[in-house]
């Protein structure tokens, strides 16, 4: 069994009397592709916000590598190597793709306080390489706001990658994508994980994608973990089937 990059123990977030995330525990192995699934309102997005520091947990712990990160500021967690790509694309509308990536690279390399170098000189080649790898090589000089939806998603992921994360969180990376774009993105994620040893934790609606690329799956329902295991284990779990009853894609996927 490989080393654990992320250990979540008893994580709970209460809003008033509502337990959005309730006593959630799971571990993510280094170099794996791990997915979090669950019906709408299961707590996936809140869970991600707890991991990235947007929310502070009510109780419980999150250990990344060897240090606790629960309740730390978002930029502190990001600098440790836990970085998220967002469900609603979150980009820099009036920066070009190249500038967007360059802004992240200068931050990662500790040069964001450099007042006098020309940023292009500092990081251009690395930024172009990264854009190339996510299929945006030809769009380097395009303003982010005029990119197609699919390209914006790719840019969003590239922004996260530019930080050289150890653990990449993808919140529904293929939502709103055409089947072709979904395939492209899925392939990209798998390639990245394989080629650079990146660990990926993602939440996803599209069960075809989940079952195709995940090594482990954690199932959330009403803020709790109701199942965890390999794809085959989760697919044959009766509780999971009950929770998803009526949701077509899953039933189909399960039937396969």
């Amino acid at each position: 069994m490989s080393a654990k990059l992320l250990r979540v123990t008893g994580l709970t977030k209460r809003f008033g009397t509502f337990h959005a995330v309730n006593d959630v525990s799971f571990e993510v192995a280094e170099g794996s592709i791990h997915s979090i699934i669950g019906p709408n309102g299961a707590g996936k997005t809140t869970l991600f916000r707890l991991l990235t520091g947007v929310h502070a947990p009510t109780s419980g712990s999150v250990v990344f590598e060897d240090g606790p990160i629960a309740g730390k500021r978002p930029y502190t967690i990001a600098r440790k190597g836990l970085v998220q790509s967002f469900q609603m694309t979150s980009i820099f509308p009036r920066l070009t793709a190249l500038e967007s990536i360059a802004a992240v690279i200068v931050t990662r390399s500790g040069r964001s306080a450099d007042l006098l170098t020309r940023f292009h000189r500092a990081v251009e080649s690395e930024a172009r390489e990264l854009l190339e790898s996510v299929g945006l090589g030809a769009e380097a000089e395009t303003e982010a706001r005029t990119l197609s939806h699919g390209d914006q998603r790719a840019l969003d992921i590239a922004l996260a990658l530019a930080t050289h994360p150890k653990l990449l969180l993808l919140d529904e990376p293929t939502s709103g994508m055409s089947p072709a774009e979904t395939r492209k993105t899925t392939q990209l994620v798998v390639e990245l994980a394989r080629s650079s040893g990146l660990t990926v934790l993602f939440s996803e609606h599209d069960m075809d994608v989940v079952f195709e690329i995940s090594e482990r799956v954690t199932v959330l329902h009403q803020g709790r973990v109701i199942a965890e295991g390999t794809v085959a284990e989760v697919q044959s779990n009766p509780e999971v089937m009950a929770v998803y009853l009526g949701e077509g894609p899953v039933l189909e996927a399960v039937a396969n």
């Binding site: 509308p93 070009t96 500038e99 306080a113 170098t117 292009h120």
Partner: protein
């Protein structure tokens, strides 16, 4: 320092604050150089009264450029920049009045005081966002205004401070003009350098999407504080240029309406273009000068111009540069289309 011809693709998108859609560094640099040349000639050849109007515009252009580091590049609307502008003027006058320091000592001290003041105000105001940030900065500059008004013994109260503070060669109006222009050019070059640096790039990214930048590892508060301090220092330098222009400092320099001026200039000229605020400063100052001779309602005209710009050309007058014929020119210059 200025863009070169060796890497057209790399420099594309850096002239304008928002990058991407418009830049032609070679042409831009040539135009800027020509403008500076024209200003030198104006200072040497224009009747003295007219030259002094231009001198005033040059000083305010520095104020507008410095303010636009926050406004256009950082997305921060500060109504407190008068605090730094006014303090620049006051520092020079105060150290001369009370301790007999030379103009040069005050001139060197002013940006440091402006930076320190900006640090203190920024640490508090930058904890808030948008409207609250604007109101807090406004409150601080009003505080400075009231203090300057009430400390008669020290600041001269409502009358402010005035006197023969300038060294002899600077007191010569033509030489004062050339010195003002030289300081303005140096400030503009430094600010140009800053907005095109990694610092400036990250600042623009925080303008576009603050939360995402935070999620990508940037301590946005500290970064914005850095920009606020830099802007404060440059605003303060602009304030010292006011002393060269008038040899005085008075409370109205610290008033929040004074903070509004560079914002109006940036909006009129175009806050997403580096030199937009300079264009705005000249249009505003020269337009004001011309209008007050012809009408008592110059503010009505200002209002109409502002409305026109905001409704028709939100990118300001400099945004005109992205209209069609220019666009073609730019493409031929190795632009981005």
């Amino acid at each position: 320092m200025l863009p070169t011809t060796t890497e057209p693709a790399a420099t594309a998108g850096v002239v304008r604050a928002r990058g991407g859609s418009g830049s032609f560094p070679v042409l831009g640099a040539a135009l800027a150089a020509a403008a500076v040349g024209a200003l030198v000639l104006a200072g040497a050849l224009l009747p003295l009264d007219d030259a002094l109007v231009v001198e005033n515009a040059i000083g305010l252009a520095v104020f507008a450029l410095a303010t636009n580091l926050l406004l256009g590049f950082g997305g921060l609307v500060s109504f407190g920049q008068a605090a730094f502008y006014g303090s620049g003027a006051y520092v020079v006058m105060l150290v001369w009045e009370h301790w007999g320091w030379s103009f040069w000592l005050g001139f060197a001290l002013a940006p440091l005081v402006g930076a320190a003041l900006a640090f203190v105000i920024g640490v508090i105001a930058l904890r808030t966002r948008q409207l609250y940030f604007a109101l807090l900065t406004l409150a601080f500059t009003q505080l400075a205004y009231v203090l300057a008004q009430q400390q008669h013994e020290f600041t001269g109260g409502d009358n402010g401070l005035f006197g023969d503070v300038l060294p002899r060669w600077l007191a010569d109006a033509r030489q004062g003009y050339m010195f003002t222009l030289a300081v303005a050019v140096v400030c503009a070059l430094l600010l140009w350098r800053i907005v095109n640096s990694p610092f400036g790039l990250v600042l623009r990214a925080t303008r576009e999407n603050r939360d995402r930048m935070e999620a990508l590892g940037v301590n946005v508060f500290r970064h914005q504080l850095g920009a606020f301090v830099l802007s404060g220092a440059f605003c303060s330098v602009a304030g010292t240029l006011f002393v060269i222009h008038t040899q005085s400092a008075y409370p109205q320099l610290l008033e929040w309406t004074k903070s509004g001026e560079p914002i109006l200039m940036a909006v009129i000229g175009g806050m997403f273009a580096f030199l937009g605020p300079v264009v705005g400063a000249f249009v505003y100052t020269l337009g004001h000068q011309w209008l007050v001779q012809h009408t008592a309602h110059w503010q009505l005209v200002l209002g109409a111009v502002l409305l026109g710009v905001v409704l028709l050309r939100p990118d300001g007058l400099a945004g005109l540069a992205s209209s069609r014929p220019w666009r073609r020119l730019r493409t031929r210059n190795g632009g981005d289309e």
